[in-house]
Amino acid sequence: VNARRIALAAAALAALGIAGCGGGGSGGVAKLNYYTFPEPSGSFATAAANCSKASGGRYTITISSLPSDSDSQRTQLVRRLAAKDSAIDLIGMDVNWTAEFAQAGWVRPWSGSQATQVTNGVLPGPIATATWNGRLYGAPLNSNTQLLWYRKDLVPNPPQTWTQMIQDAIKLAKQGKPHYIEEQGRQYEGYTVWFNSLVDSAGGQILNGPSKVALGPAAKQAAGVIHDLATSAAADPSLSNDQEDQGRLAFESGTAAFEINYPFVYPSAQKDVPKIAKVMGYAAYPQMNAGTPARVTIGGINLGVSAYSTHPAAAFEAATCMAQRQYQLINAVKGGLPPVLASLYNDPAVAKAYPFHQLIKQQLSTYGIRPKTPAYSDVSLAIQKTLSPPSGIDPSTAVSQLTSQIKSALSSGALL
């Protein structure tokens, strides 16, 4: 019996080995593997199927879902790309991976007419996220930006600045009304995004070039705002554990008066709690200095072609097809992903799906982006850990701590 079991196990292992090596191209149809986040609405699948059909047999696209959070997506991709895995052709790249993937030589640069085609009419922010050292490394597919969501029944006029929002929340707390401000304060990449948006909005930046720490007074102001929020009545008690979804749930449960989050929270509230949705208002991301529009860190996906793909020509063609206007429209209306083409914001279908479309377009044009460096992941880790928990920030020493930690992050010889 044992011998038979061993033989069976060996056979199973061999079969796995063979399956693992499969997927090579055989002359005719290029089989493209497209790795991207698990897109729930099926709009990516529609684009993949339609483009495969339209290629007239030149390629077929198979979508493989990555894990749901960005950090785990990257972990899987970098492991496989560093091992030169040829089973990956197309990558739905999070905007913060561009410099790293490009510098390591894991994705191919776009050039010629295809580069022109995928950037034509695209808002400048998304193009900036797909560019490294003056070259384009991804076809901008969708963007994203956080807005201020607030309770119209509690706050007649939305606050313009962070200071005002915190004061409004404290006032509501004193009246015994729902008053929390929902933000992303957990030790993860989303917390870096909050800090980056505040530094950018205050007129500063985290890095000056790929390897020089900037920070300065804007960073001090940003750290001060996070500290003030976290130590006031405005803070949700679980701020230091909150990600986007905890914020959404808290707002829907009615304990929050304000929420900084991506537009997905709007349809969600309408579906989950119509009572809250009815009093859910939206406004521009709060400013750091009254009168200066915020520069909100933008998110989104750029389509990259793996350097180890055995069908690069077909992959570029497929990416160009899936980033077309018609598919961006489906992604926007069905999938809730804000498009990167400026003209789509005047499309009636987009206007209907996003009552706040002009606000998004405006924030995408006064955009901020994450520090552009191949070591972004290291820098982000340094920021999260130094500023965690939010209530423990000492604004007077935060900048010097951040400076030394980010310097460590940029060198390969320091533990983080």
Binding site: Q187, L249, L416
Partner: protein, 313 residues
Amino acid sequence: VSTGAVTADTTGTAAAPPKRRARVTDRAKAERRLAYWLIAPSVIVMLLVTAYPIIDAFVLSLQRADLRFPNANKFIGFSNYGHVLSSSLWWSDVFHTLFITVVTVAIELVLGMLLALAMHRAIFVRGAIRAIGLIPYGIVTVVAAFAWRYAWESDSGWIPHLLGLHSDPLASTSGSYIAVIIAEVWKTTPFMALLLLGGLALVPDEIHEAARVDGATTWQRFWRITIPLMKPAILVALLFRTLDGLRIFDTVYIFNAGAHGTETVSILGFNQLLNRLNLGLGSAVSVLIFLMVAIIAFLFIKGFGAAAPGAGD
């Protein structure tokens, strides 16, 4: 089964008969040769799946190695170890890890013993009780960690609701440690109980009966008979759980990724290896964790006389 045979068995190595160094017959030689052939495949597999990664990690730890900048890789001797050992982060993470390990293993030993006694003494549905007791251990650690995290969540979790808390327990250091320790204890007490149950099964009833006739109380019988006879099983259980505990990752990572001063050495290694892709520094951390585990195993075996797994045979 005679009492004498059983006690000799339980005391394991200590009571092993002196080895005979007499002449080795041809038959014994042949048998020995056959034995080497028989274990050869598993030894080769073990070398491939354990020795190779360990050596590879050690070699990497002597280099500046970053997956993103393969051209900048170079041999730098032991300076990665210098960076790790001179970092206060490493030492505070070692302290966090040891704290969690010592507290969880201590609690698990007590609860595991109670559970083992219950499983051992159960008269009705013994099989069912043993199976139910083992369920937490059968759940994937990450899944269990998520279940506990949701249970502790301040808006929707049942624990803050039950305790009437208005703050978030996971937003403080003490709360985070309590939550992590409870989740770990819940998860691995059954494993501890299973190992101890094996020890309990070896304590012969005859000795207990004799002691009872002599007027020993239950308490006395537990401390004077059960515990001494179970000592090898207890030490093996403690050893296994200590080594496990030192490598704790999943629960802490899922709860708050090491925020609020709960970062452990495994999370530190993960951050260097998989977040920063700094293979040199990360491998140095891994090798140091390996050494820490090896030293503790050595102390257990030499210091307390725990039998190495399989050494009693």
